[in-house]
Symmetry: C2
Subunit: 329 residues, 2 copies
């Protein structure tokens, strides 16, 4: 086991941005662009809770940064950089650290979000990773979570439920159980679970057109409920319009009960946005320009605290456990 | 065990600053003062490594924030706020959380450094805390670590070694071993270990007069070596001039070997600064204005990588283990 300083120097200093001062100082130095606000988000991931320690280390690095980037995307912010706290079990292999750093580096480079600082601790506990990420928005333009208004259309990006179904497939595979899906479908769902795709490209589209937004990390139903409730409003949500991938639809054909898993499971890292109706078309077109599909799934209503999830026959559906709980709470 | 959201709402939302948006959004929103740079630091603390889980929870909260504030102080930065990642064992008592929050709140209020965001995860591992703190400096004035020049005088604030001696006393007390010191001395050393006093008041004095600085967290000898080496220079350090508290001197009388513990042990959270000689008097006077003693302990020399620790008789002393290692590395 190399000393902390050597590990940082070998694997992390090369991927650090200029603001990180080579990771040799006590602090990072950031100059937010003039006339911009700074957006800050923090997320911790724990082995056995948010990932399996035997997942490829590179995907764990990707995911740890990705979930933070997703929060920046939801706020309409452009990434500036991030700091990394690593709590490592004392028997961790250096190869693990190298691969973890590789996963982080690739996503950091793709999103222009350099590492600028960190801390490493060895303990006798499970591996955990805490990242704080920074972004900027032109002053006063951060997209908030609780500011939706009645009449706004509710949109989601991409497809819902792939990661939750991927987790089921991943667990089955790890335990040697047989998969109910073709290898291709199974692999694509597992990939969505292991390697979330934060929607940072459409952050400017959110800033231009969305009145409120958040990322979907704890399940579509639960997160939508949070966004609507925080505004003190209600919503009608058309479950039949929720966008699913081909692989997810194949999973539903094998087991219809999985629709509930898709709607309430975590780790989507898609965006949920409330968009004034006059901007709906521009919002869809803006997202498409970046190759991202935005689908309307409902609308905000005046009906305080009444969120109706409607089936195609108009019947209301109730969810006993609307959010995925990562062993939290 | 209350759900994450309730715990945040009950104990942390009331202590959150305006930038934290009530801890109800995905992100915090910070507007750094115009013409200022943002200084960012992050430190993780782990039960069994940096503190004992049966330490008073209020002191653990104080320490977790304090070690980050100390880094901001060393950079000459004024605190702006912090985000908190908590990884809690699933059987944690609510009372622990309440007291932990109280410890954080008090220090946050005293240093004008509000909580602005966070994440809480329950796991089967040891409790760990990761804090990322933000500060600001007028553009271009952050005090760096590696910028000392030959001829600069080396200063430390306060007294050295109290926390390392306090840890010995604390461990003896926990294990029911008899203490070699009077109860008063022992208590004052333990207090220094449990409740570090970050030197944020003198941050502007560092900005005005210091050419390089860092906080002393891993031991005086080791940290001084880092500061000097990073500048590619050497130093003469007069061990006889290192400032000790009355309690530390009493401990040395009982066991002269403890001087080495004091010089190399961690958790001082004092500041080490390289000050151009023409500013030395103003630096001392500036610190004193805030009630902080600054003591010259050496000077930077041209002699590349040669750091000489000198006894009062002029003999050079060597340290086999110059830094305290928190089970890290």
């Amino acid at each position: 086991m190399a000393a902390e300083f050597e590990i940082i120097a070998r694997y992390f200093a090369p991927i650090a941005g200029a603001a990180g001062l080579g990771l040799l100082d006590d602090a990072a130095l950031v100059q937010p662009p003039a006339g911009h606000d700074l957006v800050i988000t923090t997320d911790a991931l724990c082995a056995g809770v948010h990932f399996f320690l035997d997942d490829p280390a590179e995907t764990i690095g990707h995911k740890a940064l990705g979930v933070n980037l997703s929060d920046l995307a939801a706020k309409g912010a452009k990434p500036l950089g991030f700091v990394l706290s690593l709590i490592l079990p004392s028997d961790i292999q250096e190869e693990w650290i190298a691969n973890f750093a590789k996963g982080i580096e690739l996503l950091a480079a793709n999103t222009d979000c350099p590492l600028i600082g960190g801390d490493t601790v060895y303990s006798n506990g499970p591996l955990s990773i805490s990242i704080t990420a920074f972004g900027s928005v032109p002053q006063g333009t951060m997209v908030k979570r609780g500011t939706a208004q009645a009449g706004d259309k509710l949109f989601v990006t991409g497809t819902i439920g792939d990661a939750a179904l991927g987790l089921l497939q991943h667990s089955a595979k790890r335990e040697g159980r047989s998969l109910q899906l073709s290898t291709d479908y199974s692999a694509s769902l597992i990939e969505r679970y292991l390697r979330p795709r934060p929607r940072n490209t459409v952050a400017p589209v959110l800033r231009d057109y969305a009145r409120a937004a958040m990322d979907i990390s704890d399940g579509f139903i639960g997160d939508l409920t949070k966004l609507v409730s925080l505004a003190g409003l209600g919503a009608n949500v058309w479950l039949n319009d929720v966008p699913y991938s081909v692989a997810a639809r194949a999973a539903f054909r094998a087991d219809a009960g999985l629709i509930e898993t898709a709607l309430t499971g975590g780790d989507d890292y898609e965006l949920l946005a409330a968009v004034p109706s006059q901007h709906a078309k521009a919002f869809i077109a803006g997202c498409l320009k970046f190759g991202v599909t935005a689908t309307q799934v409902g609308e905000i209503t005046e009906a305080c605290q009444s969120i109706r999830f409607l089936e195609s026959d108009g019947k209301q559906r109730h969810f006993s456990s609307p959010s995925y709980v990562h062993g939290d709470g």
